[in-house]
């Protein structure tokens, strides 16, 4: 699972490509880096109840679907 992914930076993408080329299984759904997750921890509310339309919430749902869909 790729977490705290930075879409705009080059290195994270390169690292993921490297892992894949070495044959490591990497899920297609990346979880973006977000300050919202700190708020989520501080309020003791996971992302879905906290803000279901947030980008990270949607990514987490996509990750859930990838694992259980």
């Amino acid at each position: 699972m790729v977490n705290q992914f930075q879409q705009r930076a080059k290195l994270p993408r390169q690292l993921v490509d490297e892992l894949r080329s070495e044959g490591h299984p990497v899920l297609d759904t990346f979880l973006s880096s977000s300050v919202k997750i700190r708020e989520s921890h501080s309020l003791a509310r996971p992302m879905i109840p906290l803000d279901p339309t947030h980008k990270l919430s949607r990514e987490l749902e996509a990750l859930y679907d990838a694992l259980d869909g």
Binding site: L31, A44, P46
Partner: protein, 173 residues
């Protein structure tokens, strides 16, 4: 459905991912249980807030009974706490888990966790947040049951242990 979110390095989002996947599972209508086996208790604090510190049934009580002789062990469900989120329950962490888990491990009682999970209803989703610095390693077969799907929890050697052993050998030569 059983999911373990694990990683060797700490602080990468293991508990965050486990809790959020569990919350999604519950929000979608599934009875869901998260086992916070990490003595640090990040998942417990994330889902219970300040209530995580309150005394009550938790992982230490659950594993404690495995180590003591008792005629009638309580099922896992007796140790789960509700969370503010519907259908989501948690086996809350406790700092004592660190010591308890080492004892369980050395007596090969960690295997019992598997039996315990099999005791939960099939339609209950289980998410496990294992302790850091350990590694859930699939082994070829459980020596006793000969089942290929068992997981064994083992402690990783401390960083540098292999290297220092090599250096020691070199010193002898």
């Amino acid at each position: 459905m059983r999911r373990v979110v694990f990683n060797q390095k700490g602080g990468v989002g293991k508990s965050t991912i486990a809790c959020n996947l569990a919350a999604i599972s519950a929000a979608r209508g599934r009875e869901t249980v998260i086992l916070d086996l990490d003595p640090k208790g990040n998942s417990s604090r994330y889902l219970l807030g300040d209530k995580a510190e309150e005394p009550g049934e938790d992982g230490a009580a659950f594993f404690g009974q495995m180590l003591s002789f008792s005629f009638r062990e309580q099922p896992l469900e007796a140790f789960l706490r509700p969370t503010p989120f519907e259908r989501l329950r948690i086996l809350s962490s406790n700092p004592e888990l660190d010591e308890l888990e080492s004892k369980l491990e050395s007596r090969y009682k960690m295997m019992k966790l598997r039996e315990v999970l099999q005791g939960l209803p099939d339609d209950t989703a289980v998410y496990i947040d294992p302790p850091g610095f350990r590694f859930l390693q699939p082994i070829g077969a459980d020596r006793r049951t000969n089942r290929p799907d068992s997981l064994r929890v083992r402690r990783l050697p401390p960083a540098g242990a292999l290297q220092s052993a090599r250096e020691r050998r070199r010193g002898e030569v």
